[in-house]
Subunit: 194 residues, 2 copies
């Protein structure tokens, strides 16, 4: 696993780069431990820098999340593309949905950020979320073309379903999240076209 590059910026000064990496590493640990609402102050403290440094690298919590999730979200999009070749359109869809849900589950509270970011174009996470949504859309369209998924379900519905199921799983148990996802996808398949 290579460390994420700092956006499309010019070369950073050595100390800046060091702090950037350090912050990212501590953020990963602390978010994993306390969820995405964890104190940014503590991340800075644990990284051994002043909080102003954190804010200068990551102006918002979402910018930090974006840097942390960039690779993973790209992978998720790639996975969707790969699954377009899967022999079973239905299976491809459910496999991807489960993978997406697993991704959404790495940090507690992430679902809310991801859901909010798809709506909020000014969010630093927006582009990444949009890419994931679009990736899912390919699989959904393919299933609809094959006639196994009702045509009134949208990519946005799929995205919302994945996040809602992940959210529920986060509140109660992962197993319940899985179950909700299954119900939802089954419901999207049910014959009753409106």
């Amino acid at each position: 696993m290579t460390t994420a590059d700092p956006a499309p910026q010019r070369r950073m000064r050595a100390d800046a780069r060091r702090n950037y990496e350090r912050l990212l590493a501590e953020a990963a640990t602390i978010f994993a431990e306390h969820g995405v609402e964890a104190s940014l102050e503590e991340i800075a403290r644990r990284a051994g820098v002043a909080n102003g440094t954190l804010y200068s690298h990551f102006p918002t919590r979402q910018a930090l999340l974006e840097a942390l999730l960039r690779d993973r979200m790209r992978t998720l999009s790639d996975t969707a593309r790969d699954l377009l070749d899967h022999p079973s359109v239905d299976e491809a869809l459910i496999i991807w949905a489960r993978a997406a849900m697993a991704h959404t589950t790495v940090y507690r509270g992430l679902t809310t950020s991801l859901m909010r970011s798809i709506e909020d174009e000014s969010s630093q996470l927006h582009a990444a979320c949009q890419a994931v949504l679009t990736a899912g859309e390919q699989l959904l369209n393919r299933a609809q073309a094959a006639g196994t998924v009702r045509t009134d379900a949208t990519a946005s519905d799929l995205y919302a379903l994945i996040n809602a199921a992940a959210w529920a799983g986060e509140q109660t148990s992962p197993a319940q999240g899985e179950r909700l996802l299954s119900f939802g996808i089954d419901g999207m398949r049910s014959a009753t076209d409106s």
Copy 2:
């Protein structure tokens, strides 16, 4: 609409009762405006009392919510009981689920509180949530007995589904919440019994 009685307490002093009512009224307004994470300080300020007074009446945010939602949640349970006489078991279930979702939607952020409270027995909202869950269970069991809902769906699944759909609706649009609920319920109906 009668005002909620302050729990099963003895008689309160006149000024205390006045403040209690005032706090409840302001809380309703402010929660409606800013969601359930609104500042308690502001509620106290707008009610014209010191914040200590708010805390003495409602030791936690959930205690305040409980007082605010008590009637409505009781009604929801009653509605479920009434619907047990509905000619269509399926329709009864979906009607109630929609009503429950509407209830969950009165304040932004409520879904999270309600979902957390079903798990957390020490929450002041726990009992009320449990009552709602049990009410839904009756309708679910009836549908399962009638053979229209798969038997591996639990009352907890139904509760989670309603809240998850409401949550999604809260993040994007109410219409999407409705759609997710439909998909979920349809999925619970689908033949594939495991």
